[in-house]
């Protein structure tokens, strides 16, 4: 696993996915217990099926990218992991989704407790109209996190690569920052209470290219400590930053899941290859 990660990182720093290596096609040894495991997961919105029998094992401390055309259910899958779909009355979920062996849809699991272990960053930056400090400390306050909040806020802003830009203006409003800064602020807010998994729903799609590359660098660094699951529209982005890639195609089916290099260079399915090479979607 580690060799693979290193290679992917090397390749992305070269800026290319076209270089083929032999290692890419070899299957890694059986991974340790995955953090997130889905078995036969179905999601319905009313009578409409959004996900169809998804089976996936998301490994620890890696970046797993979820790609696919619009309406293929990739965001729906992401929102299953922290049960954000519960907020939609019409959504119905069948099948198993486990986080470290516990079925998150078990009646005994409190979705609020689940979301405290699984952080989330949204497509549009959505900081609160509060000060920068209060934004980052929000999770610490509501979760009653022990410890020195000032220090945790500084640590989180440093990890989100925002500290140098905002350290002198922690009292000013988070909404006054630029779009890219706002998104990094949201990432700092999400990692401050130290979640186990970080979900990102197209975190760079509303940003300009410079801000996008800053956020991408940040995601790669975060993977050293967190398990990151990222939905993206942008295949180059998935190729650059992820270790594993899952391709969802129309109808909410997970068509292919594997190492990023393999998916982008030598996909097993014809339709995945067509999607990746831009023939549709």
């Amino acid at each position: 696993m580690t060799e693979n990660t290193a290679e992917t990182a090397d390749e992305s720093s070269d800026g290319g996915v076209t270089a083929t290596t032999g290692a890419a096609t070899t299957t890694p040894t059986t991974p340790p217990e995955p953090v997130i495991r889905a078995r036969d997961l179905d999601v319905f919105y009313g009578s409409e099926r959004a996900l169809e029998s998804v089976d996936i094992d998301i490994p620890e401390q890696q970046v797993t990218a979820i790609i696919g055309p619009s309406g293929c259910g990739k965001s729906t899958f992401l929102r299953c992991i922290n049960r954000m779909n519960d907020r939609i009355d019409a959504a119905r979920i069948d099948g198993d989704l486990t986080l470290r062996g516990t079925n998150v849809y078990d009646a005994a699991v409190d979705p609020v407790a689940l979301r405290r272990r699984v952080g989330m960053v949204f497509q549009e930056p959505n900081p609160f109209p509060k000060s920068i400090y209060d934004n980052v400390a929000y999770g610490l306050e509501i979760q009653d996190v022990e410890g020195d909040h000032d220090e945790i806020v500084e640590q989180s802003l440093r990890r989100a690569a925002l500290w140098d830009e905002v350290s002198h203006q922690l009292d000013s409003s988070g909404v006054a920052l630029s779009g890219g800064q706002q998104q990094r602020l949201c990432i700092a807010r999400a990692i401050a209470p130290d979640p186990e998994v970080l979900l990102m729903d197209e975190p760079a799609s509303a940003l300009d290219p410079v801000a996008t590359s800053q956020v991408e660098d940040l995601i790669e660094e975060l993977a050293e400590e967190y398990t990151v699951v990222i939905v993206t529209h942008n295949m180059q982005q998935a190729a650059r930053i992820s270790d594993k890639t899952a391709v969802f195609l129309t109808g909410g089916k997970l068509v292919e899941f594997g190492d990023t290099d393999q998916i982008f260079e030598n996909p097993e399915h014809q339709r995945v290859e067509e999607y990746i090479t831009g023939k549709f979607g």
Binding site: V112, E141, I142, A190
Partner: protein, 566 residues
Amino acid sequence: MAADTSDVTAGFGQVSRTAGRVFRALLLAATLFGIVFVTILLLYVANDAIQPLTADPGWHLTFFLTLVVPTAGVGAFVYRRSQAAFQTGMLALGFVAVALLFSGGAAMLFIDIVRPLTWLAVVVALAVPAAIAVGVTAYDQRLPFLARFGVTTAAFYLSLFGLPGPLGTVASWLSQLGLPIPLGATLGSVRLVPSVVDVVSGVPVAPAPWLMLVATVGGPIGVVAGHAVARDRGRRARVAASSAFLAVVAVAGVVGPAVGVTPVPAVVVAAVGVVPPAAYAADVAVNAPRERVGLAVPATVIVGSLVGAGIVSVVGLAGPQSWVDWAFLTSAHSTNAESAGFYPSIGGSILLMLSVAVLAFPVGVGAAIYLEEYAPDNWLTRVIDVNISNLAGVPSVVYGLLGFGLFVTHLNRPAGTVLIGGATLGLLILPIIIISAREAIRSVPEAQRAASDGMGATKWQTVRNVVLPRSFSGILTGTILALGRAIGETAPLIMIGAPTIKFSLPTQVSETVTAMPLQVYAWSSLYATPDFYTKVVPAGVVVLVTVLLAMNSVAIVLRNKYQSHD
């Protein structure tokens, strides 16, 4: 050449817009229809009430030269330099006017309704348990919620009512009804533990009333104003600014008697009418250097008015024989039109508005939060939805009937009191508060709720930390506009038996009260001599409309501030 041009434009001739122009003119007419007629009526009324043409032409000329010309000149200069500065200046001017109006109401409250000692006692009785509540929350997070809630509630109850307090009264009622409650009969009359209110208002030696008001009214307003002005300049500057504002209030109490104003109203007017606009002006001057020039507009108006008044009194030019004068505002009704006044009605309306706000605001906002954030989407909720909109359309006289039937007939309360009037008008505007508060809550972006929920916030945490702070100014705006509706209501007050004429202000919520529209109604029906309905009624209407506009202007400023933050 000409022929060439017509060839070129041959396919681009005029398309007829006649129908569109007619339509546009009709729309304009529809827009202006109501505004024009109401404006003309109000001009007539104002003319009857104030009678500007009875003034000496020299009086008009003096104010034209000292007030109108300089204001127009300075205003035009500022407007051309910076529109933002001009807006700031106009806002400051409006702030001065509205703050002075409100300070008049507040002064009335402390002169005739609440004794300063009683007020001090209530403030202390609220401050003590509030401090306990803050302490319990800050220093003992480990206490379970119910324990903290119990301690806080007990502290408030003891401090405000003592033991046994209202619970004892209820117990004695119940024992009269035959319920077996131990000591039930005696609980209503004995007092085991006196409340903080009793202790403080019973002290044998109290400071002068105006000193108590300096502390309880000037103190908080000074602190808020000082923090607003020096917010970015460190703790010492904030303390200095707060002390300076407090000093202004205290000085007013000393200087007031020298210029013929008793200390109590002088302190209240300084605290409510002078310090807030002064703080706004200082805030602009210190924190917004580019808009500083706008302050020239209110300065010109104030200086111009004072200079004009000085010249007029020195030269001896007679002003208009206005029916809206000091005597009208400060005396009670009289059968003689010349000496009829509006004072008890103004005070009554203020008291009614306060009780309506206290009763209807929590209930209305609570209902709105429930319906927007908690209620499941089912047929029952939809039925309630539709019926709240229907309730807003129920005629006010029906609410009066409800108030009479519920409070007077069934609960056996005396008719026409402040409490009954406030409760009835509160019921009347409850649906309006609910509807506008729901609108404000709904305008909080869904992404904000998702962000909070995604952080692992419970529903309550999301509502308290995200939804309410963001919708609060919208809720407040809607409530003020609803209060504006209540202040003009006559029919419900007639139905609950409020007297149309009173000669003094109530000092307790269980005394009868009258209101401005009721008094106007009495003048135009019961005392229908020409002087009453051509002079006194217009004067009353001018005061009523002025108060209404002052309230609505606060709502409009709040709404603009709130919209510019999104």
